[in-house]
């Protein structure tokens, strides 16, 4: 298959504060030698409990967390770029290709901006559009994520959690990315809304030919949406494989514990 992103031996470590001026502490390896590959058009799940390093892995790919070691190769046609070595300015063009959907829909939208302004922020950075075409593009995005275009001039607090998450998705899609990192996009939502958002992401993937890294702590959610999944604990990937097989036949005891943690009715 056509590989889009290949992570090799990725490490993210944070210094632990100690002493009077923050010196003399050790380091914590939030991500400790993680390697995986994602093919174009695929949804890969990344599961683990909180503190396992899955969010940090996602953030490291998009440069919201500092990479301390390893490489992140991004394949663009015949070109292969190691994102981990790029400077901030060199990374800028990749911001348009890689986007992120955030966990907390109540925290990820600026409360003082209207939805139109929120959607204009990415448009202003990458496309020089006049006001009319911006409005048109914003309306398209609203329709794409299943929201009423006439609600563009409302503020985030006027929407429900699920609707806000849709706005977050629209914002990420505004720059027409190839690769989307979904960082626990449904864990802050009601169960009834979770399914809608998951279906939306999976529809959008096939419609726009997106590639996704889907991060979640709920293994049942990941099994439903992704073709392959990886299980992560304490900064390491302990098991990976085709979702259905992995869930039917977990080998690592940690995976088994995650599966047992899914409530059954």
């Amino acid at each position: 298959m056509d590989t889009l992103i290949k992570v090799e031996n990725l490490r993210v470590s944070y210094p632990v504060a100690g002493g009077l001026f923050g010196r003399g502490g050790g380091v914590v390896n939030a991500v400790d030698g993680v390697s995986f590959e994602i093919s174009r058009g695929e949804i890969v799940g990344l599961v683990g409990e909180s503190g396992s390093g899955k969010t940090t892995t996602g953030r490291a790919i998009i440069r919201l967390a500092p990479v301390s070691g390893g490489s992140i190769f991004y394949f663009d046609g015949k070109n292969k770029t190691d994102l981990a070595t790029l400077s901030k300015r060199e990374f800028f063009p990749f911001r348009k290709k890689i986007q992120m959907i955030f966990q907390d829909p109540f925290n990820s939208l600026d409360p003082r901006m209207t939805i139109f302004k929120i959607l204009c922020e990415p448009l202003d950075i990458y496309f020089k559009l006049d006001k009319k075409s911006k409005l048109k593009r914003a309306e398209e995005l609203m329709e794409l994520v299943g929201l009423e275009p006439s609600h563009l001039f409302r503020f985030p607090h006027e929407f429900s959690g699920g609707q806000r998450q849709r706005i977050g998705i629209a914002r990420a899609l505004a720059v027409q990315p190839e690769f989307i990192i979904c960082d626990e996009p449904v864990s802050a939502l009601d169960v009834s809304v979770q399914a809608q958002i998951i279906n939306l992401i999976s529809d959008l993937r096939s419609k726009l030919n997106l590639t996704c890294l889907f991060i979640a702590h709920d293994i049942a959610v990941v099994e439903h949406i992704s073709s392959r999944m990886m299980v992560m604990t304490e900064g390491k990937i302990v098991e990976s494989g085709v979702s259905a097989e992995l869930c039917a036949n977990p080998r690592h005891p940690y995976t088994r514990r995650l599966i047992d943690a899914v409530p059954k009715f």
Partner: protein, 283 residues
């Protein structure tokens, strides 16, 4: 600009959401205007003496009476209010400018720079500032500008702490991360996300700083370090009144009433705003 306008309108709607605070605000607005245009409202010039009548009790010509030099107390309250309000607002503006910038820079700096900057604030807090201001007055002489600057320089510390805390909080929110992920630069994030979210807090802080600045000014004037005679300020009026309070109580009662009423109203409005704003931020 638009964001600050919206914030201002939101603040007004909060102020008028209960009658008591609304009345306070209207009282302040009227008093402020009357002081600003004292020439039109005051029946006499503020330095006009009438030694023949001396300190006379309130009557039809002098509704709040006159002081020992026969100057109209009502007139002097208006002119004194002008100085007190001017010091209050100007020194607050100085404090807000220094404090907000310092707090924001501190919050956005690397950790070590940040803690060094905040330790500096801690040290400045520990200095006996009244004495420092008095020393400044003695060294540089008594000028109105120096009062603005000196009081502003004292009051910015609290502002710096509050703004730093708020900036740290906003910086860690996911919408700032999202903006960064979209490729927004440092100044873009400042302009679009951090400043608009700070404005409410800064306005609230400023309304609470004004009364404390006015109190500080009157305190300095009371000690004889404030504005120069014959220019009145509420502090000097209260001081003069206190000297003759047994013989001419009106000289103390009226300025003191206006001064305390103003402080009360300012604090009331500020408290109301800060309570409302806290609710909005915790939502």
């Amino acid at each position: 600009m638009k964001a600050s306008l919206r914030a201002f309108r939101a603040l007004l709607s909060v102020v008028f959401s209960d009658r008591h605070t609304g009345a306070c605000f209207i009282f302040l607005a009227i008093l402020c205007l009357a002081c600003m245009f004292a020439e039109f409202f005051a029946p006499y010039p503020f330095a006009e003496q009438n030694l023949a009548i001396g300190a006379s009790a309130p009557c039809a010509e002098h509704i709040f009476g006159t002081d020992i030099l026969g100057r109209d107390v009502f007139t002097r309250i208006l002119y004194g209010g002008r100085i007190s309000f001017a010091v209050g607002f100007a020194a607050t503006a100085v404090a807000v400018l220094i404090g907000a910038c310092y707090g924001m820079v501190s919050a956005l700096s690397p950790r070590r720079v940040d803690s060094a900057m905040m330790r500096l604030v801690d040290i400045a807090y520990a200095l006996p500032f009244t004495i420092l201001v008095i020393l400044l007055m003695i060294i540089f002489g008594r000028s109105l500008w120096l009062i603005f600057v000196a009081i502003g320089a004292v009051e910015w510390l609290t502002m710096a702490r509050i703004v730093r805390g708020m900036t740290l909080d906003i910086k860690s929110r996911q919408f700032v991360l999202a903006s960064e992920a979209l490729g927004q630069g440092f100044w873009g994030i400042m302009r679009l996300h951090i400043l608009p979210n700070l404005i409410g807090t800064i306005l609230v802080c400023a309304t609470l700083t004004v009364p404390s600045v006015m109190l500080l000014e009157s305190f300095l004037s009371f000690l004889g370090l404030g504005v120069q005679a014959p220019l009145p300020s509420w502090g000097t009026l209260v001081k003069e009144g206190a000297e003759y309070m047994l013989d001419a109580p009106w000289m103390l009662v009226f300025p003191a009433f206006f001064f305390s009423a103003t402080l009360y109203c300012l604090n009331r409005v500020g408290a109301k705003l800060s309570a409302a704003d806290l609710r909005r931020f915790s939502k």
